[in-house]
Amino acid sequence: MNELSVNHLLGIKHLNIDDLNLIFKTADHFKEVINRSIKKVPSLRDVTIANLFFENSTRTKLSFELAEKRLSADVINFSSSQSSVKKGETLIDTVNNILSMKVDMVVLRHPNPGAAILLANNVNATIINAGDGPNEHPTQALLDSYSIIEKIGDLKNRNILIVGDISHSRVALSNIYALQLQGANVMVCGPKTLIPKYLHKLGVKVEHNFIKALEWCDVVNMLRLQNERMSNSFFPSVREYVQQYGLTLDILNSLDKEIYVMHPGPINRGVEISSDVADSKNSIILDQVENGVAIRMAVIYLLAQKKPLKK
């Protein structure tokens, strides 16, 4: 297979294993390209991409922008704080206005789940979901899987643990879909209040004992507390959370085996992960960031390929 089964990247839920393998294989080639002295290919020089970020973002936005520029696409950036959205314009109207400036592709981050699907169904452009509320963050899950495969190979029957605020995390849901698609065993760990009640229905193991969970896994993905999405108090105090679910070097060294540590960023050092773990040899956090550009180049390239130029 040499093309994606989808015309938009709305979530991992919509992809199949062939899509994932094609994205990873294409990312391999782009990773080689971005390590050359000239890191740019001319493939998308006739494509214009709008990055619409209705929520704050640092690395995802930069990573998408760099990926687009390295594919030679024209890029325009939009942030909701400086826009007419504040004046009451709807999302579809905003995007249609941008598209009338001959934009081919939209990268959308939005606080509402389903925003990317809404756009895909209502506007004439390729949509890439860069995070829609607590729903999905597909490119993060793709780069996470890609980074794990680089370290431990095929994910079939490997044990991957996701720790932290599962309820409010789009990274967790996309990772669960992606990892299961590749045959990995997935476990989540965190306070009961931060794990959705029906998560086990997705075939995910749930464990509340952090040490037991760590002993089970080959790779642990530490998520941050999504305080911006918490309307109630989900645990007594940050101090207590750190004591029960914070990963320290002492805990890592006490395990019988070496495990890889991931984090999608931004890191709250001293909360979900200590500084010495984040900077340790077990950490692949910076590999994730590097791989993010290659994965996003692959996704954009493969989606652009699905939309031939009109002759």
Binding site: V33, K39, S43, P308, K311
Partner: protein, 179 residues
Amino acid sequence: MSKNIILNKKEIDIILQRLACQLIENHQDFSNTILIGLQPRGKSLLNRLLEILNTSYNISNINHGLLDITFYRDDFRRNEKILEANTTDNLEVEGKSVVFIDDVLFTGRTIRAALTAIETFGRPKNIELLILIDRRFSRHLPIQPDYRGRQIDVYDNQKVIVNWSDDQGDDCVYIINKL
């Protein structure tokens, strides 16, 4: 589909020996040269030439590598056939004499893409082109080979296939009619 064989194994062997000699004539010990096979079809030709240079002329350790031009093509989103990318090696070309190696030269667009792609690794001293089959009167761009195996005339609705024994059967070059 009928195959019209234009070169058999023996004829290809003679041509490859000649091409190897021409390379030696211009590049002597190859100390400042890198031979680059264009993916995917230039790979086998590159390997054959390296083997001849080593076994027949005792020249080994020649700098060489593979270059994929998929991301540099000018028909992205214009071609119905979707092409898969191949591996590119880490190529050291700065200040070197580069020789591109491919099996068939047709429109010249692959070579145009290769000229762009190679710049991403550095600035070569000069670039030459070695091809096994030169399809005359078919060029879309002002590109000509420096080393040519055989020049042939083929209709636009025909395709030239170079078969290497690495793939299957014997080495041969044949023409088929496109469907």
